[in-house]
C-alpha cells in the first residue's frame, strides 16, 4: 500500500465514472431509437448530474446526509477493489465476497439515508429494493460458490485470468452455460433493469427510495448509480466473460454487455416485487443448483 495506490484508486473511480456515465448517455440514445425517438445528446447524463450538484438542496437531518456520504463512499471504495483488465490499485483485495459485501455498505447507506428522510414512500421503496436484492443474490451466490469450488480461488482477477487464452470457449459463460445464464439474469436484477426494476423505475420516482432527493444529494445518488453499474457489470464480466486481456478489450466487452442488458430491458414488461422473488427462486435458483450439482458431483468443467 503506497501513495501511488491511492492515486490509482482515485483515477479508477474517476475513470469508471466518466466511462459508465458516457455509456449511459449513449444507451439513452439506444433506448430512444428502440422507441423511435431521437434521444438526448450522448453527454446528457453528465449535464443532469452536474446540474443536480449545482442546485440548492434541502436536508432532513444528519443521517440523511451521512447516509448519502456513506453510500457513495462505500460504492467508490468498491470501485477501487474491482480488477480492470487484471489491474488493481490495491492488489490482493479482490476476493469476491469482499467485493459483494463492501457493495452492501453502499446499499445500506442509501437505505439509511432514504429512510432518514422521514418519507414513508422512501421506506417502502427501500423495502422493495432489499427484497429485490434477496431475490437476485441467492442464485448468483450459488454460482459464485460453484466457481470457487471449481477453481479453488475466490479472487476475481484470478478467476478472470483463468478464462483467458482459450478464446471465447474458455469463458465461464460457455464452460458453465447454465451458470452464465443465471449470472446474466442476476445482472438484470442488480442493475434494476426491466423486468426487475420495480424499486427504481422512472415511473416509481414518487414512490421509491429517491422520492425526497434533490440538489447535491440527488447528484450523489446519480453518481452512485453509475458507479454501482460499473461494479456490477465488471463483476459479471470478470467472472463469466473472461475479463479483458487489455484495457480496450475490457471496455469493449463491457460496453457490449451493458448495451445488451439495456436493449433487452427496453422491450420487457415489469414484474411486481413478489413476482420477481418467485421467478428468481424458481428458474435461476433451480438452474444455478443444477449447474452446481453437475460441477460438484458430475465433474463438469474439469
Amino acid at each position: 500500500m503506497t501513495l501511488m495506490s491511492f492515486v490509482y484508486g482515485f483515477l479508477a473511480i474517476l475513470g469508471a465514472f466518466v466511462f459508465q456515465t458516457s455509456l449511459t448517455g449513449i444507451n439513452r440514445k439506444v433506448t430512444a431509437r428502440l422507441q423511435k425517438r431521437r434521444g438526448p445528446k450522448w453527454y446528457q447524463q453528465f449535464i443532469d448530474i452536474f446540474k443536480a450538484f449545482s442546485k440548492s438542496s434541502i436536508t432532513h437531518g444528519w443521517v440523511y446526509d451521512f447516509g448519502a456520504i456513506m453510500a457513495l463512499g462505500g460504492i467508490a471504495a468498491t470501485v477501487i477493489f474491482i480488477p480492470v483488465a487484471g489491474f488493481q490499485s490495491f492488489p490482493g483485495l479482490d476476493n469476491i465476497f469482499v467485493i459483494s459485501y463492501v457493495l452492501a455498505v453502499g446499499m445500506l447507506g442509501m437505505a439509511m439515508s432514504a429512510a432518514g428522510s422521514g418519507n414513508p414512500w422512501a421506506s417502502i421503496g427501500v423495502s422493495r429494493a432489499l427484497t429485490n436484492m434477496l431475490a437476485y443474490d441467492i442464485p448468483f451466490m450459488v454460482i459464485v460458490f460453484t466457481l470457487i469450488y471449481q477453481h479453488q480461488t475466490g479472487s476475481v482477477s484470478e478467476l478472470a485470468a483463468l478464462q483467458q487464452g482459450a478464446g471465447i470457449w474458455g469463458w465461464n459463460a460457455f464452460q458453465l452455460p447454465l451458470g452464465g445464464l443465471v449470472a446474466v439474469i442476476a445482472l438484470f436484477g442488480m442493475l434494476g433493469k426491466k423486468p426487475f426494476d420495480s424499486f427504481i423505475a422512472p415511473a416509481e420516482i414518487a414512490s421509491g427510495p429517491m422520492v425526497e432527493y434533490g440538489g447535491k444529494q440527488l447528484g450523489m445518488m446519480f453518481t452512485l448509480h453509475e458507479l454501482m453499474t460499473f461494479i456490477e457489470v465488471s463483476l459479471i464480466l470478470n467472472l463469466f466473460f473472461g475479463g479483458g486481456e487489455t484495457l480496450w478489450v475490457y471496455l469493449l466487452k463491457y460496453a457490449v454487455l451493458y448495451t445488451f442488458t439495456n436493449i433487452v430491458s427496453g422491450v420487457m414488461p415489469r414484474f411486481k416485487i413478489d413476482q420477481a422473488v418467485t421467478f428468481f427462486y424458481k428458474v435461476p435458483l433451480g438452474l444455478a443448483l443444477v449447474q452446481g450439482l453437475l460441477v460438484i458431483f458430475g465433474g463438469w468443467g474439469y
Partner: protein, 606 residues
Amino acid sequence: MMTMIILFMIASILFAYVLSLKEPKWGAYATLIVSLAGLVGVSLLRGSVGETVSFYYLHFTVTTIGWYFSMILLTVYFTATFFHPFWMDQLIYPAAYNALFLLSLAGTVGLFFAQDLMTLFICWETAVWSSMLIVQQGKSRQAAWVYFVMSAIGSMATLFAILLTIFMSGTTMITDAFIYFMGSPALGGLVFGAFILSGLTKMGIFPFHVWLPLAHGSAPHTFSPVLSGGLVKMGAYIAYLSVAVFPAYQVFGDQLMLQGVPLPIYALMLLGGVSIVYGTLRAIQQDDAKRLLAYSSVANGGYILIGILMLDQMAFAGGLMHVLNHAVASAAAFLAMAAVAKRTGTTKMSELGGMIHRMPVTYVVYLIAIISMAGIPPMGGFVSKWLIFQGLSHRGLIFLATAAAFGSIGSYLYVFRPLSAVFLGQLAPKYEKIKEADPLMLIGMLLLTAMSLLLGIVPNVVLRTIAQIQIELGIDPIMIKGTITATQNGSVNMLSVFTVFGFGFLLILILFLVLPKSRRVGLMDTYTSAEFIHTPELLHYGHHFYAPFERLYEKWPSVLPLYQRLSLKLKEMGEWAETFFFHAEPNRAVFWMVLLVILITVGGAR
C-alpha cells in the same frame, strides 16, 4: 489463580445477594465490579493452560478453548451489568436477580473449564436453572416454562449420554472418556446424538428454536443480551465438545460420506441450514424488535453450528469466531433496544420511530451492531461469515452454502427494519421529550461497538487464539501474516479494506462539503403526493415492512402447533398416570402406601 477465581465467584454471589437486600442499586454495582473482576481474572489465565483444580467432586482445567469461550461470556455479562443500576426498580426480586445473574455467570465459566463430565453437567444445570429463574422475572411466566422444558429435553439426553459414557469407559475425564468410542460406531453414534442434543436445544437449532423468541422476547431487558449473546453460546461449546473432543469424524468413519462429511454430521449441518433459513424468514415477519433479534439468533446459531461441525481450516475458524462476533453484535443490539425500551416503555417497532433525533448514540451502537450481524465489512461479523463461506465453497457443500447465502442477504432485510422503524422515520409527538440513554449505559454499549469495529479491522488478534485451538486439535490452522488472513482458497487484508473504505468515504465527504450547503427542513416537510397529513404517526412506515415478501410465506406451517399438541398429550398422559395414585376415594392411596410399606419391609429384611 483458578482456585481464587472460583472462590471469588461463589463468595460474590452471596455478597451481591446480601447487599441487594439492603440496597438494590449497590447490588447492581456489585455485579458490575464482580463481572469486571472475573473478566480480568480469567484473562490472566491465558498463560496457565493445563492447570487443574479440584473441589471435592468438581474438577476444572484451563484450556485454550475454555478460556476463549469464558472471555466471550464474561464480556457480554460485564457490558450488560452497566444497565443493572437502572433496572432495579422494575424487578420484583432485585436481590434474587443479582445473585442469580452472578450464579449463571459462575455456572457458564465453570462449564467451559470443566475437566470431567459430571462437573460439566452440574455447571450446565446451574446456568440453566439460574437463567430460567431470571427469565421468570420478565413479562411472561410461560416463557420461562417453555425455556425450561426445552432445556430439560436437552439436559436429560446429555445426562443419559454422560452416564452411558462413564459406565462404558470407566472414567469421567472428558478427553479420556470420549476416546473409548473410537472403536464402537453404534454406541458412539448414540452417545454423540444424545450429547449434542443439549447443544442444539440451547443454540435454538430448528426444531428446538421455539423457546428462543419467547424467552428472549419476555426476559427482563437487561438479561436478553446475556441470553442471546452469552448463554446461547454454551450450546456452541457443547457442539465443539461433541465434534472436536468426541472423535465424531472417526466414529462415523464408515458411514456414507458427502463431500468428506459423514452423513450423520451432514444431517446436523442441514438442521443448521434450516435454522438459518427459518430464523431469517421469521425474523423478517416480527413486529417486536426483541423477538426479531431472537430469531436472528436462531439464524446465527445455524452458522455457528455448521462452522464448528466442519472441523476444518476455514469454516471451523469462522464458526468459532462467529461465536464472538455474534455475541458482541447481538448483545449490543439487545442493549440498544433495552435503552430505547427504558425511555419509551416499548420494543414494538410499529409504535416507535425517529429515535435517532433523541438518542443518536444509541442509534450508532445499533447501526454498528447490525452491520456486524449482517456480515458487512469492516465489522467483525464479515470475517467470520467470510471464513464460513470460503470453507463451504471449498468443500462444495452447495445446499448449505445456499442457506448461508440466503441468511446473509436475508439479514439485511431484518436488521434494517428496526433501524428504519425504530430509529429513522417520523418522530411521534409523545416521544418529543425523551432523552438519550444514561451515560453509564452508553459506556457499556460503546465498549461493544468498539469491539465489533476492532474485530473487523484486526481480526487476527482473535484468529491467533483460534489458530492455537486448531493446532491443539491437529487440524490445519488458519494462516495469519501481519494483517493478512489467508485460507487455502483466498485471503483478505481487513486493515487495507478498512483503509480503502475510509479513503472512499473521505473523498466523498470532501465532495459533499465543497458542494452548496443544504437547507435544513423538518421531518414533516416531505413529498406526500398532494395529501395534507399533519400527524407524524400516519407518515411513519412501520407495519408489515416487507409485506409483498411476507405474503409469499405467511401461510407456511409452523412447528408450534405440533409442540402444543405434544404438550397437551403429555399433560393428558400425566393426568391419566396420576389417577393410579390419587383419587377422591382414599382406596388407591392406601393401596400404594401399603404396597410401599411391604416392599420396604421385604427389601429391608434382606
